[in-house]
Symmetry: D2
Amino acid sequence: MERKILRTECPDSQGLIAKITGICFQHQLNIIRNTEYVDPISGQFYMRTELEGEFDDSRLLAELDAVLPVGSERSLESASKRKRVLVLVTKESHCLGDILMKVFDGSLQLDIVAVVGNYADLASLAERFHIPFHHVCHQQLSREAHEQALLQVIDRYAPDYLVLAKFMRILTPAFVRRFPQRIINIHHSFLPAFVGAKPYLQAFERGVKIIGATAHFVNDALDEGPIIEQMVTRVDHNYAAQDMAKAGRDVEKSALSKALQLLQEDRVFVHGNKTVLL
Amino acid sequence: MERKILRTECPDSQGLIAKITGICFQHQLNIIRNTEYVDPISGQFYMRTELEGEFDDSRLLAELDAVLPVGSERSLESASKRKRVLVLVTKESHCLGDILMKVFDGSLQLDIVAVVGNYADLASLAERFHIPFHHVCHQQLSREAHEQALLQVIDRYAPDYLVLAKFMRILTPAFVRRFPQRIINIHHSFLPAFVGAKPYLQAFERGVKIIGATAHFVNDALDEGPIIEQMVTRVDHNYAAQDMAKAGRDVEKSALSKALQLLQEDRVFVHGNKTVLL
Amino acid sequence: MERKILRTECPDSQGLIAKITGICFQHQLNIIRNTEYVDPISGQFYMRTELEGEFDDSRLLAELDAVLPVGSERSLESASKRKRVLVLVTKESHCLGDILMKVFDGSLQLDIVAVVGNYADLASLAERFHIPFHHVCHQQLSREAHEQALLQVIDRYAPDYLVLAKFMRILTPAFVRRFPQRIINIHHSFLPAFVGAKPYLQAFERGVKIIGATAHFVNDALDEGPIIEQMVTRVDHNYAAQDMAKAGRDVEKSALSKALQLLQEDRVFVHGNKTVLL
Amino acid sequence: MERKILRTECPDSQGLIAKITGICFQHQLNIIRNTEYVDPISGQFYMRTELEGEFDDSRLLAELDAVLPVGSERSLESASKRKRVLVLVTKESHCLGDILMKVFDGSLQLDIVAVVGNYADLASLAERFHIPFHHVCHQQLSREAHEQALLQVIDRYAPDYLVLAKFMRILTPAFVRRFPQRIINIHHSFLPAFVGAKPYLQAFERGVKIIGATAHFVNDALDEGPIIEQMVTRVDHNYAAQDMAKAGRDVEKSALSKALQLLQEDRVFVHGNKTVLL
C-alpha cells in the first residue's frame, strides 16, 4: 500500500471530477482526500487527489491523459517523497533557524540539501545541523557574475526549490526564469504594502497598527509574484522600527515555514499571479 | 439554470466520489464546488456538492440511492432557499442586532421569522426591523410549562433553526430532542473553558489573556454540543469582568453570525459530537 | 466624586510626570490610570491621566500651566461626557448599523447626533433608531457646492467628530481643514495596501491571503492620515472580490467602532502622521 | 549613563506616582517609560519605571523606602542584566529550539545556563549551541529522589528561572516551593481548557475550532498557576490529534518565548493568581 498525490490542472469541462475519480476507482485506489477549485473567471480547473493503494503509474496516467482536455497538466508523486530544498541567506538567522529546527523535529518533512550565503555569517549555524554551507561572496562581482557563481553551487544539488530565507539580494530576470515557480521568498511586510527595501522602517513611518510577512513565489517583478502565505502581528506606538523588525521575525519565519509545508504536501497551484492552495 | 446543494453522508466505500459525480455528469450538471471528508477513525463519508444545471430531482435522487451504501443520507436543496430562523433572546441585544443588520444588508441570506423573548426588552428592536416579537414570560411557570408556551409560538412559524442569541435559560432534554441539530447557541466563552454560568467572571478570576465565544448545537448536556465556530480576542490585566463581557460581545456576535452563514449554505455536517464544515 | 481625564502633550523635559502627578496629589485627586509615551525621535511627551475626586478645574489647570513647558497642550474633561458624533454615509449600512447597535446596547457611550447621506438609502435605518437623517444629494452639484450643503447641516449639530461610515466621496482640502483631527474614515483595506478605489477588487487581483480595514483620521492626502486602528481577516482562493467585500464588512465595522471607543475615552493623541493610543 | 528598571509593588495610596517619580526627578533620572496598574478590587499598586541617568542605588532606594507604605516591595536592576535561565526538557525539541535560536540571534537577551533532560534525546541539540546538557534520568527513582538529583544540577547554576520547555513530569509541591514565581511552564492547551495530560487528544475529541498554548508560572496545583501569555491558532475537522499537536508547536514556542521576553524585561508582576504585565 502506497500513498500518492495526483495533481490535475486543465481547462474546466463537464464531468472532470467524475472521469478522474472514475479512473482512480477502476484502479481500486482509495481517495483519502480530494480538493478541487474551478476559477470562475478563467474557467481553469485544479484538483489535488490523495490516493492510497497499489499503483500502476504509467497505465493510470495514460488513462487520465485519454480523458483530460488538451492543455492539461497532471503529475503523480509519492506522498512521502521529500522535496530537495536549497536555502539562500545573507546574515539574519531566524528563518533558516526555524526551517532547520522544523526539519530536525519532523515538522517539515523535506531535505535541506545546502545553505548558500553571500556572507559567511550563518556557516556555523548550518554546520551545526550538518548541512553543507557555501559562501558565495557578491563583493567585487557584477550581479550576473555573482549569479553564475551561485548557479554553479546550486546546480550541484539539483534542488526542487530555492528558498530565499532573508536573502537580501535582488535576482535578475534571467536567473529567475531558470527556476519558474521554484523560488520562494519571504518578504518582511504584508504585501503589497511596503514593497522594496526597509519595509519595517516604512511601516514605522506610516504608523501602522499591524505588521506582516509574505511568502511568495519570485517572478520578474520585485515583490510581485504569487503569494503563498501571509501572517500578521499587532504593534503599537511603542514599537520603534527595530522593535517592529524584531516582532516581525516570528511571523516571517512562520509564514515561510507554512509555505514550505504546503509545497512539501503538493498543495500549491499557480493560477496567473495567484496561488490556489488545495 | 438552477443551483442546488447535494449533501451526502454515508459509510465510506471505494468509488463513492466517482459514483456520485458520475451520476451528476450523466445529468449534465456542472459541479461548481465539491468538498468531501472521510473520518479516518469511523470511516464515515461526507460530501457537499454545489451543482448547476437543469435538475430532475426525483430521478437524480433515485439514481444516487441505487449506488449509495445502506445507511446513507442525502439531500438536494436549492442554493437560494432561505432558511427560516427563529431567534430566542433574553435582554442582551448585540447578537440579535448583528443578525438583524446582516439580514438587512444581505450579508446573511436567511429569514428571521420571529423573535421570542422571556423578557420584553428587545421587542422594540425586533419591531424596528418588522420582525414579529413574542414575549413568553417564564416567571411563575415551571420550566416545562414555560417551554410549552414557547413551543406554541415556535410551532406557528415552522422554523428550520432555533437560535439562542443570548437566551439565558437552560432547555430541558425533552425540548432539545424536539429539534435535533436544529438549535444553535452562542456561549460566551472559548468552550470547553468556562462551562456554565458567568463565564466572563470565571475568565477574569482565572486571569486568562484571551477570551472567546463558541457557537454550537445544543444537545442534552449543558454546553457540550457539537461546536460550529469559535472566535477569540485578546484581553489583559486592565480588563475587569464587565470589560471582558463588553469585549466579548464582538466575538460572540461574529461567531454566531458565521455559524448561521455556514448553516444557510448547507455546509455543516454533524459527526458524533463534532461538526464537519464543507 | 467625579472622574475626569487629563490629557497633556508637550516637549519632553525631566520631571514632567513628577510635576503633573504632584499637582494632582496636592489636589487630593486619585490617579485611577496613568499612561504616557515619549517619542524617542522628536522628544514629544504625551500623557493621559484618569483622575477621581473633587475637582477645582481652573486652579488645577493654572497650576499645571505654571510647570509645563512652552508649547504645551492640556485638557481636562469629564470621563462621562458623551462625544457628539455625526455620521456620513452613502449606501452601505454595516458600519452605521454597528455604531447604532453599540450605542443602543451601551457598548459605545457617545451620541449620534445625526446621519447625513449623499443617497437616501439609509434614512429608514437611522430613523428606526430615532436619529435625524439628512439627505444631501451630490448630483448636479460641484464638489464645493455639495460640501457647502453638507456644512449647513453639519454646523447645525456642532459635532465633536465627523465619521465617514462608508461615505464614498472624496473631501476637498478646504473641507478637511475645517475639522482638524476630527474626521474619521474607515478605509476598506489594510492601508497602505490598496489606496484609493475598489480595494477589494485590488486585493482579489493581487491574490492576498489576508484582507483588512483601517480607521484613520482624514487629512489632505487621500487615505494618508494618521491610523487609529486596523483589523484583518483571512481569505483564500475561493473568495471572489465580492466575497472579500462581504468578509471585510465585519473587520470594517469592528475597526471603526474600536476607533470611536478610543476617541470616546480620550485615548487618541496625534503625533505627526501617527497616533499614540494611551 | 545607565538604564535601570525600578519595580514597585505596594498597597495603593494617594500620591504614590508623584512620590516615586518625584524622587527619581530629584536624582535627575530620566523616565523612559512608566507603566502602572492599580487593582480595583484589592487596591494593590504595581509600577514599572524605566530610568536613565547616573544612579546612586542605595540612596535612591532608601529615599523610596521612606515614602512607600508598609508592605512595599521594590527592586532596581540594570536593564541590560541578563537573566540566568535553566531549561528542563524531555524529548520534544521545538520550544528549546526556539529559545536557542532566539538567544542566538539576539531576540532573547538572556543566558541559557544549562539544559537538563529526563531523557538524553536533546543533548546534541543543546551542545550544538554550546550549552551544557545534563541527563538526569527519572527511571527507577522515586519522584523525590529524582527531584533531589535535579536540584543538585540546578543549584550548581544558580538560575533566576527554571523553564519547563515540554518537561513532561509533574513537580512536587516541595520542589515548586523552592522556586516561587520562578518556574515557567508551557502547557499545550488554551488553559483552563484541557487541564492535565494529552490536551491535544482532548481538543480533538471535543471538536474545537481553535487550539492554544499557555505559558504560566507553576504553583502547587497542576496547570493552575498565574498565566503569563496565551496564543491560539485555528484548526478544522481535517486535523487529527497529531495534526493539532503539530500545529500547536508554533503557538507553544511563541507563547513561551514571549513569556521569557516579558520576564527578561522585568514586566511580569504576580497579583494573586494572575499576572500584571507592565
